[in-house]
Symmetry: C2
């Protein structure tokens, strides 16, 4: 992968779930010449397969360091991804009339970005990458540009560097305006191996994608529109 | 303790460290008639005595539920309270020229408030209490009113209720403009038993306060100005 070296000595914290979007985001971060520090969470999600994918993606793309930290969002419940609720299949289902689905995890991106902020501050850097996407997305409030901008403003007031005016926190969300097909084309151009990624909300015991949850449906649509075959859909 | 029942069916999440400020904040939350849900963190702090104090304070003042959740801020380092650095004694010491001391934990209040936000959203409430204080404080950036207001704005954009315009997140910081002496007088008027609280950054192996760290000095000054004897300073 060709790498722009303009930022090569500058660390950036990258939130890495092991999914298609965060893998592409890590590749963009590397391509822009940052030294990536990848951060993943074990947060009561149902499947360790996500973290295995995150490790494989970090190894393949290359990072300075990969930290997996454990947080317990199950204490609070409130989501099909962390509590004892069923993940919906073959349809876009909301928990209520808001259009926000039951797979939404309360304040998840705020918690993830807060940890990234702590690490960035310790590393002495102001750059954080997150693979949120406001277009072909699941309707979560914390995936929208106005949320990201608001987090940046808060972070400037929360940190030493921001208070001193030395540097402003920058939350890079390079996928925010892209369709899933555009994300896949971007990742392909940067050499991302999507066979290593994991998107399914409800895999079987062997870790295989269900093909019918919201996340699988978005992924399939993205690959179809991009004109690529999803490597995960090929027979092994 | 007299309790205003106007909010009595309304849950509020209260960040509870077991220190003097958070104990007073919990008492204010109860006094205002909220049903408190107390949230404490085991975050790689040096001393379990803080969490024992949090439990004792929660029991004494009364809460609907007390959750202690573990997060590992040691992964990132960067503070005398979580990393292998010395806590300064008998002087206000900064880590650099910024006036922000080495006991500052990067992004700590942002992480704590993010978890509180997740719980508040799950409880269907918009009220969060935090005992930050911008006057007799240790010079941390995330204790200032402009930081708290900025977190509120971000939280409105991060949550279902905020997006739907159903309710705005409110971060209550009832101590923010008070001196330490005023905090102590307020707590005394609400019946807080400060013998249960713990403030020291660097207690001995038996959990006794050092009396000379920044936090102990602020506490001693506060009790002296309030005209009370600190119950922790009395011989057992």
């Amino acid at each position: 992968m060709e790498t722009n070296t303009a930022n090569s000595t500058r660390p950036a914290v990258v939130l890495l779930s092991g999914g298609l979007d965060s893998a592409t985001t890590l590749a963009v971060c590397r391509h822009e010449g940052f030294a990536p520090y990848a951060l993943s969470f074990r947060y009561g999600q149902r499947h360790e397969v996500e973290l295995s994918a995150a490790r494989a993606v970090a190894d393949a793309i290359g990072v300075e360091r990969h930290v997996v930290t454990e947080i317990d969002l199950r204490l609070f419940g409130g989501s099909a991804l962390t509590a004892d609720m069923d993940v919906p299949h073959r349809r876009r289902v909301s928990s209520d009339d808001s259009g926000i689905p039951v797979t939404y995890v309360p304040a998840r991106n705020t918690i993830f970005l807060s940890f990234a902020l702590a690490w960035a501050e310790t590393l002495g850097t102001s750059d954080i990458f997150i693979g949120v996407n406001a277009l072909d997305y699941s309707g979560y409030p914390d995936c929208r540009p106005e949320y990201i901008e608001s987090f940046e403003r808060m972070a400037d007031l929360a940190t030493k560097a921001g208070v001193e005016g030395r540097q402003r926190i920058r939350i890079h969300a390079p996928l925010i305006d892209l369709s899933k097909a555009e994300i896949i084309r971007l990742g392909m151009s940067l050499g991302v191996d999507y066979a290593l990624t994991h998107s399914c909300y409800d895999p079987d015991v062997a870790g295989r994608a269900c093909g019918t949850c919201d996340s699988c449906l978005l992924r399939a649509k993205g690959f179809a529109e991009a004109g690529w075959v999803d490597p995960l859909s090929r027979p092994a």
